[in-house]
Point group: C2
Chain length 437, copies 2
């Protein structure tokens, strides 16, 4: 995608705000192509598109679990209101659902392609806005919903031309963690589960020791015993359900759900693309159960997509309980992967016909021809001003045109138009209304 | 479009910010349908889609001509930057063009479908955000560009089902006004032309007398003589080019351009839909030549679309001069008109197939059937959880489905699926992989 170049004297900045993108025609064609792939898969899976304002009341996003996403909020006071650009779509989605909770027929399957804003430090090529394809199921407590979402995610990856194996989804359940601490810290202080997960999510960045310190710190919110912390860190090492089973409580519901989920993923033909990985907990506070994140198989890029179950978000926002699960799939990392793999298609202007008048006297005839072609549904460029024929033909070729319609003085006098077929390199005349001569 | 309903105790507001809209599935289907009509026409006219960030440096929008749009700017300081939500797309477009002015091949034809924000007083059903279809031509000084744009606008109205005559475009040229004052006030103070037009635009709201007072006020920026003001007000009364000719200077270029424009509009078949009206000047400072606005023929709604030529905007923003003309076509007023005329189509979910497993044991077979159908490009809803057959069939019918695929214990054991055709009320069995039995 494009960045503006330079600032010219005397005028406003020609750059978009730092960390944001302009979309020139060639950028926009790629964006539209990508979004169309997302939309097509969402519709094949029976999902309905929704949207919400990009500006929301800031309180919708301000949670107190220490998440990075809240620290990075684009928020501001305006006319005594505290507003924010959404950093993610899920809270808006929850707001929509709760506002009509009595009238909606659950389960609902909704998707959105939404621009999100995060005020990130500009490192590692990160930007401050990105578009995200969101797919969510509300009202289904069972892991069928997770399976359907992962099925859709892989169908989208297929649609983008990524062969099976180029993207892996690492999957876990916060339920395993929650169950193992239920008899301990969570018995008295269930509210620490969210900040606990947010801390654990940092393990790849800061290491197990630092995470343990944060979990046990007397000044911290979580305050695990060192025994609990040790057990948690150990559990994060599990890389199969059988390994995880060694840490779970007898009759673990989370483990049973995971086994069911893998049976379903097998029916979608994707179980082997979704390795279990107990270290995946995700950095958002609201997840309650299964969580997952998609990565390129080489592991050279950031996460392509991520999601999970958030069964208590509706309550948190003042609604009645309703189970929910979803994922977000950004446009940035997948764009890098498609570029690395040479998978972006050639996307041209796709003009079909060019209509050109040689002089001012022929302009009205050219307009009539262009109008006729457009009414047939053709994509037609009508040349403007005065151009040399050579340039017209060169531009037509570059724009992908199949035919060029030429009207000079001679054609005008005889009421005809010369039609040049660019592929076949042939020419014929037809009357202005399209009748053959 | 929908408004959130009510605030629930304990949680965040369930309302979107005042003046903004949520898009539930039924709202989104309409929005998508409208945008698709816009996009289709833009492509038929050979325009290319572009976009820019919704948040820009505020200085891009802050002009000093007294425009309402600048007073209504959503702007805020964030991390020592003065940012704003765009109130219109044109300045962003100009920024994109100027940043690549040396590399672009003019004329360029660009379109965008962009959300804009204006902090309006919430009266007369106005909202604070709307989407606008923008069509612009850069690099063509002749009125062919205006004609092409108006041709596209009427093609879009046709595409929306509005019969010719239901929408009128009133058209004028600021050039007439500029020429008539060129020997007077503009000779010494050319910079007052923009604020002069902004004042004149208020005539429908505040009347000719108040406008005259503002134009002549010694405290004002414009300071016309009473003779000049009288001449201006008189000129605004012209409703035909021949009437306008009585006020123009000999050899008026603006008048000649208007005559050429009407010849071209005639070739598009729309000249009689575009009455000349000298009172149309538009409220944006940057217009320099032809201006126009589209209204419903009854005149009961606000403007549907508006635009004009802005040949000096590039310079104002620090670029090299390049002529430009364009229009904006909002989603709000056209939505009201389509509703009034009963022209919104019925837009359903358009599910094609529903796949239902009667019990948990049949879930994997149902997934395999759904996957097969989706790979064929069908839009498939896979039921989740446990539903009664009656409800499944009722929902399928409501979603527009053609077929329901049912898998119970009997089907599973025999490796088949029962296919019910909802339209024909017939049933047959096929194997799970789609082979006939």
């Amino acid at each position: 995608m494009s960045k503006g170049s330079g600032k010219q004297g005397g005028g406003a900045s020609l750059q978009p705000p730092r960390g944001t993108r302009d979309f020139y025609p060639e950028d926009m064609r790629r964006r539209s192509w990508l979004f169309e792939r997302f939309r097509e898969i969402a519709l094949r899976f029976g999902f309905e598109e929704v949207d919400a304002p990009m500006v929301e009341h800031a309180e919708l996003f301000t949670r107190k679990a220490g998440e990075e996403i809240v620290e990075q909020l684009y928020h501001f006071e305006l006319h005594d209101r505290h507003l924010a650009l959404r950093p993610e779509f899920t809270p808006s989605l929850a707001r929509l659902v709760i506002a009509r909770q009595g009238a909606l027929r659950f389960p609902i399957r909704w998707f959105a392609i939404a621009q999100n804003w995060r005020y990130e430090r500009m490192t590692r090529g990160r930007r401050r806005e990105h578009y995200q394809w969101n797919m969510d199921v509300w009202g289904e407590p069972g892991v069928e919903a997770e399976a359907e979402l992962l099925g859709a995610m892989f169908a989208a990856l297929d649609g983008l031309g990524l062969a099976r194996g180029q993207v892996k989804v690492r999957l876990n359940s916060r339920g395993l963690l929650e169950e193992s601490l239920r008899g301990g810290v969570l018995a008295d202080r269930p509210e620490v589960f969210a900040p606990l997960c947010v801390v654990i999510d940092k393990i790849d960045k800061i290491g197990a020791e630092a995470v343990t310190d944060l979990l046990c710190s007397a000044d911290g919110e979580v305050r695990l015993t060192s025994g609990e912390a040790e057990r948690v860190i150990e559990m994060l090492g599990a890389r199969s359900l059988d390994e995880a089973a060694r840490f779970t409580t007898p009759g673990s519901q989370a483990l049973a759900d995971l086994r069911t989920l893998y049976d379903l993923l097998d029916a979608y033909g994707i179980a082997d693309q979704v390795p279990f990985d107990a270290s995946v907990v995700r950095g958002l506070a609201y997840y309650t159960g299964v969580v997952f994140e998609a990565f390129d198989a080489q592991g050279s890029l950031r996460a392509i997509a991520g999601g999970g179950r958030y069964d208590r978000l509706a309550e948190t926002l003042g609604g009645r309980p309703v189970p929910a699960v979803g994922f977000g799939f950004g446009d940035a990392v997948i764009g890098e992967l498609l570029a690395d793999e040479g998978l972006w298609p050639e996307l041209g202007r796709e003009i079909q016909d060019v209509v050109h008048a040689f002089g001012p006297e022929e302009k009205t005839a050219a307009i009539r021809v262009a109008t006729r072609l457009r009414e047939q549904g053709r994509r037609v460029e009508l040349t403007l001003g005065q151009s040399k024929l050579k340039r017209v033909l060169g531009d037509a070729d570059k724009a992908g045109a199949e035919r060029v319609f030429l009207i000079g003085e001679d054609e005008r006098r005889r009421g005809v138009v010369t039609v040049r077929d660019l592929a076949r390199q042939t020419e014929h005349e037809e009357s202005l209304d399209g009748g053959s001569r």
